[in-house]
Symmetry: C2
Subunit: 377 residues, 2 copies
C-alpha cells in the first residue's frame, strides 16, 4: 500500500475518525486508526466500544491530490500518527507500508518510520441490514441533540437513562431525556415518513455526532436492532443503541399551572448565574424564587450561613396566578435556559414540590424543559 | 467603609492583585483580598508566601467613577468576591461594609451580602528600606525573564536553582539561570547606574511579574536584604529573594568550538518539534544530530524500537568544522530555540559529551543558551 495526498485534506479526515478513538481503551488495536487504500480512494476508520466512524477520501476529488500507487490496508497508532501528520513540513505527504506493517511517512526532507499493526485484526464495523433510511435536516437534529442531551443522566445506576429516547410515529419524531430530576422533550415533524421506530441512543454518542454535523447538511439515519447509522456526506457514524425499555415520561409533564412567569431566556439566565455563584459555595446548591403576582414582586434569592446571601428583584415580562415560593437547583435551570437560546419563554408552576416547566412562548407544544424543585423545609 | 465604582475599572485591579492570591494557602486570611478605602482612593492587596501585590485606584481619575462615601478596610474571600463582581448586572457597583465585617455588594437590582474577615489580621507588606531605585525598560526586563526563566530548575533538591541570579555591576545587568542540565544567560546595559547588586529572584515570581508588564512600561526596582520591590505605575509587586550563594556559572560556558551550525531559529525549531514527537513516545527522550560539514550533511534523527524512527535532512545556513554526532534532550532545545524568536543563531559544539551553546549571530556576547548533551553509548 502506497499513496500520496494533500496533507490538509488528510488531516481533516483524520480529525473526523479520531473522535471515535480513545487512548484509554483496553483493546490495543482500537487505539489505532485503520487506513484502507482502494483504487477509488482511502477509507479511514476509528472505533471504540460505543461508536465507530468511517470516512472516505475520494481519488476522484482533485482537491485531495490523492494518488494511490498501490492498494492495501494498515492500522497505525492514531494519536501518534495524527501528531506526526500535523507537523510534517510540506503540503503533500506520502505513506508507504513495507514489510511487517512498517510504515514510512515522508514529506519534504522529513521521514518517519513507524510500527503499524495487522489490519486483519481490526474489528469489523456493525452491519446495518435495514434499507429504511430517514433523511433529517442536520441543523434540526443538532438542535434536538443540544436541547435534550442536557437532561441525560450521568449516573451509572440506571443505564437506560444515559441515552435519549427517540420515538418516530405518525410523521413525528419525539426525543426525550431525563435523569429523574429534570426532563427535556422535543418534537419535530418528519415529512414523508410512514415509518415507526422506538430506540435509545447514548448521550455521549449524540454529543460526538452533533460536533460532526456541518451547517445545512442533511443526514441519513438507518436503524437496526442494536445499532444506528448516521450518514453525513462521506462519513458514516455508527452508534450502539441502549437496550431495555425507557420509562414512560408522557405523564410526568403537568398540564395545568397555578403561577406563570414570562421571561427572555437570557435575562433570567444572567440572574440565575449570579445567584448560583453563592449557592455553589454552599453545601446545598439551591436558589429560591419568591413570586407574588398580586404585588408584582418576583425575587430570586440564596442563603448560605457560611458564605453570605444574595437577593435580586426580577423583572419578568409578565407574571400571573397565585403567590408561590419554590426552591431548585440553579444548574438545572441554567442548562434549561441555555437550551432556549434567545427566545421568550413561559415558566409554569403548580406547587412548591411539583415539577415546573419551561416552554417557548411560540410553538410551545414542541419543546418543554421540566425541572423538579428541591424541598428545603 | 462604603464606596461606589465603575465595575470594569475595579475588575482590572482585582485581576492584578488576584495573581498573588492562591486558594491553596494554609493561611486562611491569605485566600482573601484586602481592600482599603482612603479619601484618595482604594488600595487592593493580595499576597502569598512568595509574592505580594498592591494596586491603587485613584479617586482623582475620573475614568474610575470612584466615589468614597466612607473610609475603612475589609478582607473579602478573593475568588468568590471576584466572580460576583464580574457577574454583576450594571456598569457601576457599590460596596458597603456593615457590622461584623458583613459586606453588601449591590449593582442594579442585585444584592449580595457576604462574610468578610477582620482586616487587622491581614499580614503587613514587607518593608523595603532602600532608597536606591533602578529604572528598567519593561520590554527588556520582560524579555530577560522569558529568556532565562526556561532554565530555572523545577526540582526542590537545590532550592537556589529555583531562581534567576541577577548581578548588577559596572552598568551591566547579568541574568543567569541553570537547572544543571542547561543554562541561559542574558546581559543588558543599565545606563546611569553606579550601583552594585547580587540577588536571586524565584522563577515563579518572575513569571507572574512578566505577565503584569505592559508594553513600553518603565519599571522601578528596589532591593532590600530579602525582598525585591518592582513598581509598575499604580502597582507594587513584592517578591522574596532566595537566600544563599548561586553557583559560579561563568566558567561553564565554553569559549572554543570545533563544529558550528547556523540556522534561522524557527526553521530548526520545526525540525526538532517533529523529531521530538517520536522521542516523547520512547523511554529516553533523546534526538541526535549527525553533522558532516565536509560532505555538507546534517541530519536530525531519533530511534525507538517500540515506536519507530525519524530522520530529517537539515538545511543549515552554514556549517563548519569537524564531523560530530551528538545526542540531546529535544525539549531543552525547543525551549532554547523559542527564546530566540525569529533571529539567526549560531550553534557551537566542542565534543559529543561537552555542553554546546546557542547564540544570536548579532550581539552574540549578550545572550547565550547552553545545553548539556546526553550520553547514549
Amino acid at each position: 500500500m502506497k499513496f500520496s495526498i494533500k496533507r490538509t485534506a488528510f488531516v481533516n479526515s483524520l480529525n473526523i475518525v479520531s473522535r471515535a478513538i480513545s487512548s484509554k481503551t483496553t483493546i490495543p488495536i482500537l487505539t489505532g486508526l485503520k487506513i484502507v487504500a482502494t483504487k477509488d480512494g482511502l477509507i479511514l476508520t476509528g472505533s471504540n466500544a460505543d461508536i465507530s466512524i468511517e470516512t472516505r477520501i475520494k481519488a476522484s476529488n482533485a482537491d485531495n491530490k490523492l494518488a494511490i500507487a498501490s492498494t492495501g490496508s494498515i492500522v497505525l497508532p492514531a494519536r501518534f500518527f495524527s501528531s506526526i501528520v500535523k507537523k510534517l513540513p510540506q503540503d503533500t505527504m506520502t505513506l508507504d507500508v513495507t514489510d511487517n506493517f512498517q510504515t514510512r511517512i515522508t514529506s519534504g526532507s522529513s521521514s518517519f518510520d513507524i510500527n503499524g499493526l495487522d489490519p486483519t485484526n481490526y474489528p469489523h464495523l456493525p452491519e446495518i441490514d435495514s434499507d429504511d433510511s430517514i433523511t433529517l435536516s442536520g441543523d434540526i437534529f443538532k438542535e434536538i441533540i443540544q436541547q435534550t442531551v442536557i437532561a441525560v443522566s450521568d449516573q451509572e445506576s440506571r443505564p437506560i437513562l444515559n441515552g435519549v429516547h427517540f420515538v418516530l410515529s405518525d410523521n413525528q419524531l419525539v426525543a426525550v431525556a431525563t435523569d429523574s430530576h429534570r426532563l427535556s422533550q422535543r418534537k419535530v415533524k418528519i415529512d414523508d415518513s410512514d415509518k415507526s421506530f422506538d430506540f435509545i441512543i447514548p448521550g455521549d454518542s449524540l454529543v460526538e455526532l452533533s460536533r460532526m454535523i456541518k451547517e445545512h447538511q442533511d443526514i441519513q439515519m438507518r436503524i437496526s436492532e442494536n445499532q444506528v447509522l448516521f450518514t453525513l456526506d462521506e462519513t458514516s457514524f455508527y452508534s450502539r443503541l441502549l437496550e431495555g425499555n425507557y420509562p414512560d415520561t408522557s405523564r410526568l409533564i403537568p398540564t395545568t399551572s397555578s403561577t406563570t412567569l414570562q421571561f427572555e431566556a437570557p435575562v433570567l439566565l444572567s440572574a440565575i448565574e449570579r445567584a448560583s455563584l453563592l449557592s455553589h459555595e454552599s453545601r446545598n446548591n439551591v436558589v429560591k424564587f419568591t413570586l407574588k403576582p398580586s404585588q408584582k414582586i418576583a425575587t430570586i434569592s440564596g442563603n448560605s450561613p457560611d458564605v453570605g446571601k444574595v437577593e435580586e428583584n426580577l423583572q419578568p415580562d409578565s407574571m400571573d396566578g397565585e403567590d408561590l415560593t419554590i426552591s431548585y437547583n440553579p444548574d438545572y435551570m441554567k442548562d434549561a435556559l441555555r437550551s432556549f437560546g434567545k427566545t421568550m419563554i413561559n415558566i409554569s408552576f403548580t406547587s412548591p414540590l411539583r415539577p415546573f416547566t419551561l416552554v417557548p412562548t411560540e410553538e410551545k407544544e414542541n419543546f418543554v424543559q421540566l425541572i423538579t424543585p428541591v424541598r428545603t423545609f
